[in-house]
C-alpha cells in the first residue's frame, strides 16, 4: 500500500511496490488523456530550499498533467524560511494547505525530518549530495521501458562514481533485481565508496572495476554516463592520461551493442559529445520525459487516487 507513504530514500519501497508504480506509469504513458483529471482538487506543494529548475518543473508538470494544482517556493529567501522558520514548523503549516509535498534542501536529511512531522506524503527531491530517489525511479522506468526488463542486464556506470549520488542509488536499486552485472568505469580516484563496495560484496553482486570505457563498452546493455571533473583528480598527469576515456563519442559508440542504451542524469557538460545525440541509442533526453511520467505515477499512488 503506497497511499500516505513518504519517499525519502530510494530503498524505501520494495521491488513489488516499485513495480506497481512503473505499471501505473506505463498506463499513463499509453493514454495520458485518461488520467488528466485524476488529481483534480488536489494540491502539490513544492518547497525548494535551493534552486533546481529541472526537478521542480518535472514535479510541477507531473501534477498539472494529472489535473492537480501547485503551490510553493523556488528559493527560500522569498519565504518564511528567510525569517528563520524551522523545517518542522514549515511542514506542519504546509500540511494545512496541501495534500502532498516535494522538498529539495541543501542539507542532508531535511526531507526525512519534514516527514517526521506530518502524515501528508513527503517526497525527497534531493537533499544535498545525499539522496535523490525520484532520479532513481526515473532511471529504472527508462530502463524498463526501453529494454523491457530490469534483470539480467550488464550495466556500465562511467565517470565520477565516488561523489555521484545518482550512481550509488542506481547501483543499489538495480542490485535488487536478479542477475544484473555492474561494470564500474572510473579513474582510481573516483571509484565507488567503500561502503558501496562492501554492500556489493556482502550481497554477492557481480561487479568489476575498470579504468577505461573502450575496454568494456561492447559488453554493456546500459551505459550510464556521469561527468568527471578535472578538480577531482589528484594529479594532472592522470587527468591527461584518462580524460578522453570518459568522453563518449561516435568512435566508442561504434563498438557498442546495437541495443545498448545511453543514459545520463543531466545536465551534461562535455562527457557525451553532441554528435552522439543523433544516435538512436541515446536516451538521455527521453529519460527526462520518463522522469515526469514516473513522478505522475508516484504522486497518484501516494495520494491513493490511482484506482
Amino acid at each position: 500500500m503506497l497511499k500516505g507513504r513518504h519517499l525519502i530514500d530510494p530503498m524505501d519501497f520494495s521491488v513489488e511496490e516499485l513495480t506497481q508504480i512503473f505499471d501505473f506509469a506505463d498506463k499513463i504513458i499509453s493514454n495520458p488523456q485518461k488520467y488528466s483529471d485524476l488529481c483534480k482538487g488536489k494540491i502539490l506543494a513544492t518547497l525548494f530550499y535551493e534552486p533546481s529548475t529541472r526537478t521542480r518543473f518535472s514535479f510541477e508538470a507531473a501534477m498539472l498533467r494529472l489535473g492537480g494544482q501547485v503551490i510553493g517556493f523556488s528559493e527560500p529567501n522569498s519565504s518564511s524560511v528567510a525569517k528563520g522558520e524551522s523545517i518542522a514548523d514549515t511542514i506542519r503549516t504546509i500540511a494545512c494547505y496541501a495534500d502532498i509535498t516535494v522538498i529539495r534542501h541543501p542539507k542532508e536529511g531535511a526531507p526525512k525530518l519534514a516527514s517526521m512531522y506530518t502524515d501528508m506524503p513527503v517526497i525527497n527531491a534531493g537533499d544535498g549530495g545525499h539522496q535523490h530517489p525520484t532520479q532513481t525511479l526515473t532511471d529504472l522506468l527508462t530502463i524498463r521501458s526501453k529494454l523491457g526488463k530490469l534483470k539480467g542486464l550488464t550495466i556500465g556506470l562511467c565517470g565520477d562514481l565516488k561523489f555521484g549520488r545518482t550512481v550509488h542509488s542506481l547501483i543499489k536499486a538495480m542490485s535488487r533485481y536478479e542477475n544484473n552485472q555492474f561494470v564500474l568505469i572510473s579513474p582510481k580516484e573516483l571509484q565507488i565508496p567503500d561502503y558501496l563496495r562492501k554492500y556489493l560484496v556482502e550481497n554477492k553482486i557481480d561487479f568489476k572495476e575498470v579504468e577505461r570505457l573502450e575496454e568494456v563498452i561492447d559488453k554493456l546493455d546500459i551505459l550510464y554516463m556521469t561527468r568527471v571533473q578535472r578538480e577531482r583528480f589528484f594529479n594532472e598527469e592522470d587527468y591527461i592520461r584518462l580524460k578522453d576515456s570518459y568522453i563518449l563519442d561516435i568512435e566508442k559508440m561504434k563498438q557498442a551493442k546495437e541495443k545498448m542504451i545511453v543514459l545520463h542524469p543531466l545536465p551534461r557538460v562535455n562527457e557525451i559529445s553532441i554528435e552522439v545525440d543523433k544516435d538512436p541509442r541515446a536516451y538521455y533526453f527521453e529519460q527526462a520525459k520518463f522522469g515526469m511520467y514516473v513522478r505522475m505515477a508516484l504522486i497518484a499512488k501516494l495520494l491513493g487516487v490511482d484506482e
Binding site: 542532508e108 536529511g109 531535511a110 526525512k112 544535498g128 545525499h130
Partner: protein
C-alpha cells in the same frame, strides 16, 4: 595486589576495558559521592589482560544505554547481602537518542533548532552507528 573489601549492598561494574573506568566514574558523577566508592584500574583479568572495576556501596540509577556506548563489554553486578543478586551484561544499544551529536556540517541537524540527534546501530561487530538524517557513520569508540 591491592585489596578492596567486598560490598554489602550496591553495584560492581566489572570487566571495564582498562582506561575506561575513569570515564564511567566521571559519567556517574562518583567523584561527588558521599558513600563509599572504589575505582580500581589495571586489575589483572584472564579475559582482557587488564581491566578496570568500579565498586559502589549504594544503589544508584544508571543509564545502561550510555554505559553500553562507553564500553559494551562490561558487566554490572547488583549486590545485596554481599551476594550477586543480578548480573547485567551490556551490549551496544540499537538506538541512541541525544547522546551522540552528528558533526557532519552538511547534516540537517546543523541548522534545525531543537532537533533530537538519533543514531542507529548498523554493525554490532565494528560498533558502527548511523545518523538517522544524513547516514554519517560514527564508531562507538569515538563517543
Amino acid at each position: 595486589m591491592v585489596t578492596v573489601n567486598a560490598i554489602k549492598k550496591g553495584i560492581v561494574i566489572d570487566h571495564i576495558k582498562a582506561g575506561y573506568g575513569i570515564k564511567i566514574f566521571k559519567y556517574l558523577g562518583l567523584e561527588n559521592a558521599d558513600f563509599t566508592v572504589a575505582l580500581i584500574m589495571n586489575a589483572p583479568s584472564n579475559k582482557l589482560g587488564k581491566k578496570d572495576i568500579i565498586k559502589i556501596e549504594n544503589a544508584i540509577d544508571m543509564d545502561y544505554i550510555v554505559l553500553g556506548l562507553i564500553d559494551p563489554n562490561l558487566t554490572i553486578n547488583i549486590i545485596e547481602e554481599e551476594v550477586i543478586k543480578e548480573k547485567i551484561k551490556l551490549k551496544l544499544p540499537e538506538r541512541v537518542e541525544d547522546i551522540i551529536k552528528c558533526k557532519n556540517p552538511r547534516c540537517v541537524t546543523s541548522i534545525e533548532r531543537d532537533i533530537i540527534h538519533v543514531f542507529y546501530l548498523v554493525d554490532e561487530y565494528s560498533g558502527e552507528y548511523k545518523c538517522q538524517f544524513c547516514d554519517e557513520i560514527y564508531f562507538h569508540s569515538e563517543v
